[in-house]
């Protein structure tokens, strides 16, 4: 086992974002110098974090990277990671787990936007809330998350799982607008409430345990299952997705 602890140093301008796509377990094997960008300045990792390494291994699956301190503006942590564990004790910035291919990320605070964007495999557990576009595709992409699992214990923002293509997202709290928009596969589960879910979905399963507000009229009711109403759609685009809802908001276009 090897444990790498990165503790954020006090910063003169704490609002400046840090581009830290090199924070993936594999990069801590050996002793190569690592750099991040703080705003438009290139910094050595050691200039931004106090780095403590314990143990020594030569394969990434046995590495745990711990981020400590004010990391809410640190972006792209775990991008393309394939194995190992990243534990974030506080909040994390945008694009955490971009294109992730394996391993685990655990966030004890909140995650900013684009958590697990276009991830292929592995798992992300966020104990707090997630921002907008969790598990989605980037703007201009036609495929979002394709595999793996994202679990959010709190709430998620807008466009949760947009273009979701595979894998599973489970939000224990509420989600914002347009959860599951353009879904093409995978499973999206929200225990709480949502607004305008699953617009234009073509495949996959979306399960809403709470209230669906402003439900679109382009879903066809096909039955009931486990106390939930089952819909088929989005028929506006000949979609074959499954949408299950505990309760459709009164005065929705469709009830």
């Amino acid at each position: 086992m090897m444990q790498v602890t990165l503790t954020m140093k006090p910063r003169a301008k704490p609002f400046l974002p840090i581009e830290a796509e090199m924070i993936v377990p594999m990069n801590f094997i050996g002793s190569r110098e690592l750099f991040v960008w703080e705003g438009n300045k290139k910094r050595r990792l050691e200039d931004v974090f106090t780095v403590r390494k314990e143990g020594n291994v030569n394969s990434p699956e046995n590495i745990v990277v711990i981020l400590r301190g004010d990391t809410g503006r640190v972006k792209r942590v775990g991008e393309y990671m394939s194995s190992g564990i990243i534990t974030i004790e506080g909040d994390i910035g945008m694009h955490c787990g971009n294109f992730m291919r394996g391993g685990n990320i655990v966030i004890h605070g909140n995650a900013d936007g684009w958590l697990g964007r276009e991830m292929r495999a592995g798992s992300i557990l966020c104990h707090g809330n997630a921002g907008d576009y969790c598990g989605s595709g980037y703007r201009g992409e036609k495929r979002g998350m394709r595999g793996g699992k994202i679990e959010i214990m709190g709430d998620a923002g807008d466009y949760l799982g947009e273009y979701l293509t595979g894998g599973e997202i489970h939000v224990h709290g509420n989600a914002g607008m347009f959860a599951g928009a353009e879904m093409r596969g995978g499973t999206l589960k929200i225990d709480g409430d949502v607004r305008i879910p699953a617009a234009n979905m073509s495949k996959g399963t979306c399960i809403i345990g709470g209230v669906a507000h402003e439900m679109l009229p382009t879903f066809e009711k096909t039955g009931e299952k486990n106390g939930m109403v089952v819909f088929h759609g989005d028929v506006a685009n000949k979609g074959k997705g499954e949408l299950m809802i505990r309760q459709v908001q009164e005065n929705s276009a469709l009830q």
């Binding site: 980037y138 703007r139 201009g140 992409e141 036609k142």
Partner: protein, 565 residues
């Protein structure tokens, strides 16, 4: 005073009739001069190929369509990233790079002038803003008229003078350079979910045909004495059997201008298809080239396809929709009110695909079968056929039969039966290439007098020195060296300054935008026509005053003044 002496240059300057002489070139304050003082900066060209700066007469590098290509392809933006370094800004993108990416990469290949192939008048500001951020090249904007209702009215009235008034006013208003027709009438029909399948089909809601639009625009262009001719993207792009439309279109213009062509047909590769379906598509490049060979009034550009990933973008909305129904991937579709439209779609051209392989062969056939290089420009319709960084490989293919044979072995087997490429043994010379990449383009665009495309005394000192010695190189065997040489100059000079050296950007020079002021007489001023002003305010979503592009957008504009007949 800034002077440079380039010594031992192997110069090919087709406009001056210099066919490969070792000579010196003197430069003072951005212009070619007869002599410089003894103390100036000296560049030893070492007998290497020295040409006027490259000119691309049809490329898509700036404006809304291009930018939409950027928006919709984050994967492309992740490719081709370079960090800020020296005089270079950071760049990203491969098929639709950032403006700086385009500019630096063209400059590395010796290009100093670019014509943006399609600017929608209403969206001109965006194009001009991106021109200003393309620091290594002077820019020109072909302006779209293919669905312009004001022009359509004049065409319907068979009123060439009124058509000229609309065109002249619009070019001045939006700081445009030339008249571009993209699928004339067809893009307008697409606004109603339709397309036109022949140049004699009537445009919906109008009593006119593409033939009428083309013919009237050509005459209006000549009436205005515009530097460039009508620049036409024919109807039926990319449809099997479309060569018939192309041949009919080629028959439209008579020879109306002694200085240049009367009609410029762009990306003719996409318009030279035989057969009737994707299953039996074949090349009709021979027929199209034969027609061009009998018509000095016509110039074409290749629109060569090269294999790999790229982005297609055009004002031809219905064509992009047909492409979308084949791929079902990303698609952008856009309408520009009373003027035109557009579509954008990413594509991958594969050697394994018979259709793509045949397309690849057709472009080369055209360039090899058109006898006079002044009538066929080297383009890919960047990035539609391929990103422009593929130009050097195209040069290699045109100069070496051996290279072509090797490549022909790699593509789909049907290519040999369905095209004549394997039977052509013509190999183009360095001079042919110089014509097809700068001299011919300067003539076709009518910018020789602006000091472009040649190295005459008084010309702009835009010069490209390539690391190849033509007198010691046999391109038919050493095509790899030739390709390498055209990929990266030893020196690129613009306005008398070294702007690129061994692929490194040395500096940017504030670039120019050439635009046409038609100087219309009072009785042709559409702004004084109550009918025009009333229609404009009724149908356009912007006010006339807000439509006009302000001078701020073309700070370094070069006004080309023309006068009506």
């Amino acid at each position: 005073m800034h002077e440079i002496l380039i010594k031992n240059a192997f110069v090919i300057d087709p406009i001056q009739g210099i066919h490969g002489d070792i000579m010196d070139i003197s430069v003072r304050d951005g212009r070619i001069v007869d002599k410089v003082s003894g103390t100036c900066e000296v560049i030893d060209a070492g007998g290497n190929l020295t040409l006027p700066g490259g000119i691309d007469s049809h490329t898509h590098v700036c404006g809304t369509k291009v930018n939409f290509g950027r928006y919709m392809s984050p994967e492309d933006m992740r490719a081709g990233r370079t960090p800020r370094r020296g005089a270079m800004y950071h760049t990203s993108g491969y098929t639709v790079p950032t403006t700086y990416g385009n500019s630096y990469r063209y400059s590395k290949m010796g290009y100093t002038t670019l014509l943006e192939g399609a600017m929608a008048p209403m969206e001109a500001r965006h194009t001009h803003e991106e021109f200003a951020a393309t620091p290594m090249q002077d820019m020109l904007a072909n302006t779209l008229f293919d669905g312009n209702w004001n022009l359509f009215e004049a065409v319907g009235d068979k009123d060439i003078r009124q058509a000229a008034a609309v065109i002249g006013w619009t070019l001045s208003a939006v700081r445009g350079f030339g008249v571009k027709l993209t699928n004339p009438g067809g893009t307008e029909a697409w606004g109603f979910g339709d397309d036109l399948s022949s140049i004699d089909e009537t445009v919906p809601n109008w009593d006119i045909t593409p033939r009428d639009i083309i013919d009237t625009s050509i005459k209006a262009c000549e009436f205005l004495h515009l530097p460039h001719s009508v620049h036409l993207h024919c109807n039926n792009l990319g449809m099997p059997g479309n060569y018939r439309t192309t041949l009919q279109t080629l028959d439209i213009p008579s020879d109306l201008n002694p200085d240049r062509q009367t009609l410029y047909l762009t990306h003719v590769q996409f318009h030279s298809y035989g057969g009737s379906t994707w299953g039996d598509i074949s090349s009709e490049a021979e027929k199209v080239a034969s027609s061009v060979n009998t018509k000095p009034q016509v110039v074409i550009d290749m629109g060569q396809v090269m294999f790999g990933r790229t982005m297609t973008m055009t004002a031809d909305g219905p064509m992009e929709f047909r492409l979308y129904t084949l791929h079902h991937n990303k698609w952008s579709n856009h309408d520009v009110e009373l003027e035109t439209g557009s579509g954008v779609i990413p594509v991958y051209y594969s050697r394994k695909s018979p259709v793509n392989s045949i397309m690849w062969a057709i472009g080369l056939e055209l360039a090899l079968l058109v006898k006079n290089p002044w009538q066929c420009m080297l383009t890919t319709d960047n990035p539609n056929g391929a990103p422009f960084v593929k130009y050097p490989e195209i040069i290699g293919l045109l100069m070496s039969n051996l290279y072509r044979e090797k490549e022909l072995d790699q593509v789909h087997k049907l290519t040999t039966d369905r095209t004549s490429l394997g039977t052509i043994d013509r190999e183009l010379s360095f001079e042919d290439i110089a014509v097809m990449t700068r001299a011919g383009q300067a003539k076709a665009l009518g910018i020789i007098d602006q000091g472009k495309g040649h190295l005459k005394e008084g010309a702009l000192a835009d010069i490209a020195i390539y690391p190849v010695k033509p007198d010691q190189t046999d391109p038919s065997l050493q095509y790899e060296e030739v390709i390498g040489a055209f990929q990266q100059t030893l020196y690129t000079l613009k306005d008398g300054f070294v702007v690129n050296r061994d692929g490194e950007v040395i500096r940017g020079i504030p670039n120019r935008t050439f635009w046409v002021n038609a100087n219309l007489p009072d009785d042709m001023d559409v702004m004084k026509s109550p009918r025009f002003v009333e229609k404009f305010s009724r149908y356009y979503s912007v006010d006339l005053e807000n439509y006009m592009v302000q001078d701020d957008y073309v700070e370094r504009g070069i006004e080309m003044n023309t006068h009506v007949a």
